[in-house]
């Protein structure tokens, strides 16, 4: 019984790390590319900054969203692991 518990917890912990880690990589690359393009565009045409800023924030939220959903799922697994229900049955 304890062994099963340990196995489930170990694999869940690995899964949580992968979910958050890969999500963070993706989100950071996305934000980085978008931020650099925004700065580039702003340096070329400073008069477009107000228009671009709103869209940049919109896209920042969209890029972040998948990562934060991943974090929420991972946290859910960390604190209320539904996979452990198998052992209690």
């Amino acid at each position: 019984m304890e062994q099963f518990l340990a196995i489930i917890q170990a694999y869940t912990a690995l899964g949580i790390g992968i979910i958050i880690g890969l999500g963070a990589i993706g989100a950071c690359i996305g934000i980085g590319i978008m931020g650099s393009k925004f700065l580039e565009a702003a340096a070329r045409q400073p008069e477009l900054i107000p228009q671009l800023q709103g869209r940049m924030f919109l896209l920042a939220g969209l890029i972040d969203a998948a990562f934060l959903i991943g974090v929420a799922v991972a946290m859910f697994f960390a604190f209320a692991n539904p996979l452990l229900a198998v052992l209690q049955a």
Partner: protein
């Protein structure tokens, strides 16, 4: 919550106050989300209604100027994505933006404050943030979904909308009708799901981080708590903004002819 294990503490904070309205596990109402969302709705729209009803064409007061500023901001965002009659979409976007913003802002109330306060009166579970409840976010996004369908019918007519459903992305050859239709269905269903999951995921993750910070010893909570709260102000506003803009974008897409 001294004495409870971290898992119990967090689980307790993430349990809704429920009331059964029928038989079975499905017919359960999350009373806390409903109450908080209703109170916030009444407060923010009552205040804005007051400003609107007392509005004067002369020199506006500070408060009226502020409400006008919010309205013009939202109206400007809608104008960017939707050319046409905004008499419905702009107020709808304003409603979504302000309401979601207020509901998200509940996240900034200290996590133990509301449950402890209500615990004194014998209410043991209370989630103060309506948008960390999937029911709330899906209620919002499914309403938007029905509006998309409604405006598709209204803008294109029944025939036009059905024609577009079967011919839109690839072309009108008869062999492409089924793939077109399936793709359109997926596209339509993805909209409410992604809207709701995005808002819920952000708010839920934010709330969980606050709970994790609350588990630290009292002297170590200040710095991460303040840091996360400041960052969270950005997320709160951003998510309300995104929900509003995407609603406007989806409704503008419903008006577009292919």
């Amino acid at each position: 919550m001294a004495g409870a294990s971290p898992t119990e503490y967090i689980g307790h904070h993430l349990t809704n106050l429920t009331a059964a309205v029928g038989a079975g596990p499905f017919w359960v109402v999350h009373v806390d989300s409903l109450i908080v969302a209703t109170i916030l709705g009444v407060i923010c729209f009552g205040v804005m209604w007051r400003a609107a009803s007392k509005a004067s064409p002369g020199v506006p007061g500070r408060f009226q100027a502020f409400v006008e500023m919010v309205y013009e901001f939202v109206d400007g965002q809608v104008r960017d994505v939707f050319q046409g009659d905004r008499s419905f979409i702009a107020p709808l976007s304003l409603t979504i933006f302000v309401w979601v913003l207020f509901m998200n802002a509940m996240d900034l109330i200290p996590v133990d404050f509301v449950p402890t306060l209500l615990g004194l009166f014998g209410v043991h579970y209370f989630k103060a943030v309506p948008t960390t409840d999937l029911n709330t976010t899906f209620a919002l996004s499914i309403t938007v979904f029905f509006l998309i369908i409604f405006f598709s019918f209204k803008a294109k007519g029944t025939g036009g909308f059905l024609h577009e459903l079967f011919t839109a992305p690839f072309g009108s050859h008869w062999a492409l009708w089924i793939p077109n239709f399936l793709l359109n269905i997926i596209e339509f269903l993805a909209k409410p799901v992604s809207l709701a999951m995005r808002l819920f995921g952000n708010m839920y993750a934010g709330e969980l981080v606050f709970l994790l910070i609350a588990l630290l010893p009292w002297w170590a909570q200040w710095l991460p708590g303040a840091g996360w709260a400041i960052f969270h102000i950005l997320i709160i506003t951003l998510q309300a903004f995104i929900f509003m803009v995407l609603t406007a974008v989806y409704l503008a897409m419903a008006h577009e002819h292919h």
